[in-house]
Symmetry: D2
């Protein structure tokens, strides 16, 4: 028997991806998608790929009773609505930043405070590669930020293997596509102004530093650039480890962490065109690619990771986390393969 699911904030980009994934998921049926702006309009009007879906947006005021509610609302909305969410659902999967961090103090420091700090302990970070053991049975899941996810997946094996301890100097230089800004956006998001750019859009002080610190205990120097693609986040981590490390150490570390992970693969060198992680290879999928290269001259280790920010970086991760929390097959609804050839999905 399928579980009833709703998507709050269904007209946004991540909301649309949730609807696409849930309607193809063997364990879920979508009973509601809310949108204040598109109330009573068809889902296909906003998401043309879903024209066949026989569903209209409804008002977020009238939440139907469901098993699982997915919240794809902007930061700050879920913390306001969390009681209403739990009034209508057994399980809440939130895609905003509202329940990712563990303490009210962090929200004071990185965001504008928190209005429901009592839920922070209850929430579990939804990224299974980091937090699988705490997900089964969890009823409040916080899907990770896309840039944080890319960074965390890239660096985790180094911690698992003891190559990093958390006090290293690390620069994270991220390149992201235009979907990361969400629907709407002003002049800076227009095709004219945003085509062909390499634009520093979060030079310093990016909030995802907090998530990375939370889960790795590592302070990173983070900078994000917008580049000309729609989907995709690519993180390059420049790490200066305290002791020398070899390529075989690295291969061993990445295999140990990810050999059994269905959604992470290691790509580091080899022949052909695609020798390191690239976002366009994983576009449309829940897969993350991670890889690395050594720089002995500078005693540096460069770690690359690439995800689809709409999938592994938000909607796909949310479904993956829900699959684990609810005891479903981990890959249920997430087994799409990427494309080749492909442009800039």
């Amino acid at each position: 028997m399928t579980l009833r699911a709703s998507v709050v904030g269904g007209s946004g980009f991540t909301g649309g991806e949730l609807l696409r994934l849930l309607t193809q998921h063997p364990e879920f049926e979508v009973v509601q998608a809310t949108s204040r702006s598109y109330d009573r309009k068809t889902v296909g009007r906003v998401h043309p790929n879903l024209r066949e879906l026989d569903l209209r947006f409804s008002s977020p005021e009238d939440l139907e009773s469901v098993d699982v509610l997915f919240a794809a609302t902007p930061h700050g909305v879920s913390m306001q609505q969390i009681d209403a969410f739990f009034d209508s659902a057994e399980t809440v999967v939130d895609l905003s930043a509202d329940f990712r961090l563990s303490t009210e103090q962090q929200y004071d420091e990185w965001y504008d405070g928190h209005v429901c700090p009592e839920y922070l302990d209850r929430a579990e970070y939804a990224l299974p590669e980091l937090n699988r053991e705490n997900l089964p049975g969890a009823d409040l899941l916080a899907s990770g930020g896309c840039n944080a996810t890319a960074t965390l997946l890239g660096l985790k094996p180094l911690f698992d293997a003891g190559i990093m301890a958390g006090d290293e100097q690390v620069v994270v230089d991220v390149k992201v596509g235009s979907s990361e800004g969400g629907a709407g956006g002003g002049d800076a998001s227009s095709h004219v102004e945003r085509s062909g750019i390499v634009r520093p859009y979060a030079p310093t002080g990016h909030r995802h530093e907090a998530e990375i610190e939370e889960f790795l205990g590592l302070s990173v120097s983070f900078t994000a650039h917008a580049v000309d693609m729609v989907r995709g986040a690519s993180a390059t981590c420049h790490v200066f480890p305290s002791s020398p490390v070899s390529k075989s150490d690295l291969w061993e570390a990445y295999r140990a962490s990810y050999a059994d992970e269905p959604f992470v693969r290691t790509v580091a060198g080899g022949g052909g065109v695609y020798r390191y992680p690239e976002p366009k290879v994983v576009a449309g999928t829940n897969m993350a690619e991670v890889g690395f290269e050594l720089d002995p001259k500078n005693r540096r280790l460069v770690v690359f990771s690439a995800i689809d920010n709409m999938m592994k970086g938000s909607a796909g991760q949310a479904i993956h986390g829900a699959n684990v929390a609810l005891g479903f097959e981990e890959t249920a609804g997430l087994d799409a393969t990427g494309f080749h050839p492909v442009g800039a999905p």
Copy 2:
């Protein structure tokens, strides 16, 4: 029990798409992919989306015995190899132009002749929307050309409904992505020279005119332009019908032809951003979008159609045709939904 399938020409773009589709297809298992250039290399080296696939290319000289052989070789190869293909397979699905037309004379006129004209009668055009009734049991299928497919799907309802008779003036202005040129290619295919272009690449005399004439009995004035996308073919047909036609006539015609088709949808006007067929909406899927607009001032009818040239325009159509020929569920292996947001897949 699954059927054994092979892909000859597996390192090309359409070969890669066939491999992706067949490995996810419930009725097939892939037992061989050939490539002269990449003999013994892994499939994932060429098609990075298929890195998980445990398969290496083998030489086209050593064809394994299979139930269905898919040939994704350049024009002129299949006609040379067709006997060898049938020596190793019960059913052959050819993606080149070698078996699309019905007479040797047409190959003399549009191509460089034909070396196996005795097979032409046996071959069936694989596009089910045009030729479904002749597909069951066919053992030689010829998957249609991408531009011809887009054009045929756009115009067919006008013939079905008697709005066109075949003697009308029709201009077909097509816009295609870079994957249509196939792998390889010289300077003109490089990113530097091909980015941002609107390039007339087949101004007149395009061979797909022959396929359109073959199946609609209509002579079209065809011109193709290369534009900046990787996947996708968009055909705009400017039709001058002999009698006036209304919008409701058109809606009736398109509904009559396509209401029951799983892979065609009509998009003509309405609200939102996507009001007519657009290739990026169907990218990655086997769906075709068709639509129309009236131009009373010029007594013109404009028909739009959009497909993914790699899917509905080649590999997807081949699988769809094979599904019908072999008695499988028509949509088997082809039920992927498109993406939103999406760039230029």
Copy 3:
């Protein structure tokens, strides 16, 4: 001694291009740029290429007295302000559609009427290739629409040479970049929704049909598609001439019309990558490329033309027209060469 010039509507795309061209023009000095939204802000804040320009926007209410006023305001504004424009300037060059057509009836039919029809006789179409003889001394110039300009330049030699008479069937299929929509724009103009598209955005009834009819006496069936580039308009005219025509007839016709034109070159066949007109080759310049191909099978003639919609299609044409009207060197301020390699300018 330089002439004093002002740009009304200086924060829009064509306004910015006018400012760029005028500040580099040997005969002009810019004394004012108006913008309601950016009043008192620097020009460089909106147009980052003009950061070195020491000029702030001022309110359109306070027009300074100048020799030449360039109006880059949306359609409908210039006809409201034309008296005020002439109160402050000897010569007015308007880039909107407000003074392109010759009769009030045309504005009733194609636009929402006209509030100053008494100026229509006084206005001269600014495209020198069509109207050079009437420009010297004119004090109201109407710069042509970009799509009309591309089409007119492509077809004109056929009329000059008597190959066309005006009663032919002609389909014009245009592909344009995102700058044609102007600044602002909603969701459809966002990078996410507009990347990688082939989008029918003016399927029928485009207003530029009126300009083409006005200057060639030819009724055309016009359709425009938005494609993934920022600058550029490419018109493909499918012409069915009443008598047969040869390639040498065509070369003779195009040479006769354009051999002495500084801003038109004919590109038709030959070797290399660029064999027909392409917008990216002329991007950033006032050059138009025109070319042709014969289709004997369909008794069709295909004419290609490509311009930079911001230059030959608006700001460059305005300057060119003003140069002729004011007796300056025709190419003054417009001698920039295009780029190679180049992406999608």
Copy 4:
């Protein structure tokens, strides 16, 4: 009286840019462009923007006698030909890496050795912002590498102002366009494979590290990524200074170094869409944009710089250096302004 100039290697991308710049330069006339592959073909066949240029490529075996020879050949060719170059020219401006470093040992370490080390002392690095004082009268100029140029211009003010001493930890993360790979290139350079990418193409060990070390005495950890643009190089330098630094210190440093430089401007914050250096703003020009942001939490300083790799990063820098060496106006032939709106030039 103009100087006679030749371009050896005129069919490559930088060769084409040299030809464009030299034909518009008030002090030069181009008398020869060589190309082995396109011998006797017109320049316009390869560089469509130069179709008006009445010049055919000639063989590199027959160098004409000129005042200045510009060599735009691949690395390793100029060191082989340098005697022949000086046989035919008074002054040689080399755009390859062959004369950028000062010792044979560096060429042994970073390249494949040097066959004419006796010229290394004679050569002057052509970047005037770093080496203006040594250029007048120099007869062998070595134009800098594009990525090195971007990095050097970004960091130089920190050395000038004593904010950096050379022993700091510095990560340089560069994003480059496809023109950087030069003409030719294989599958990886095709539009299909290169569209929409963020591809680590020089993860570690990039040779431009040597140039940066040579001119700043600073060892940097350098990584380059290919992104979807044609022209442009953007360097993000993550610097960890030994003492705290304030924004006003930085503004003071950048103003001190660059206030009088005609080809560098500082962009750091402010309003509007373009708040930091962006390659598309300077595309087509010889301008470099530099800027910075502070990251007090991580005691980090982030420096951004953006150039057009074809201009400031190669051909433009070569002309600029030649202008200084020969006593011309510094900006002669280089005064083009960038574009807005603009896509990805």
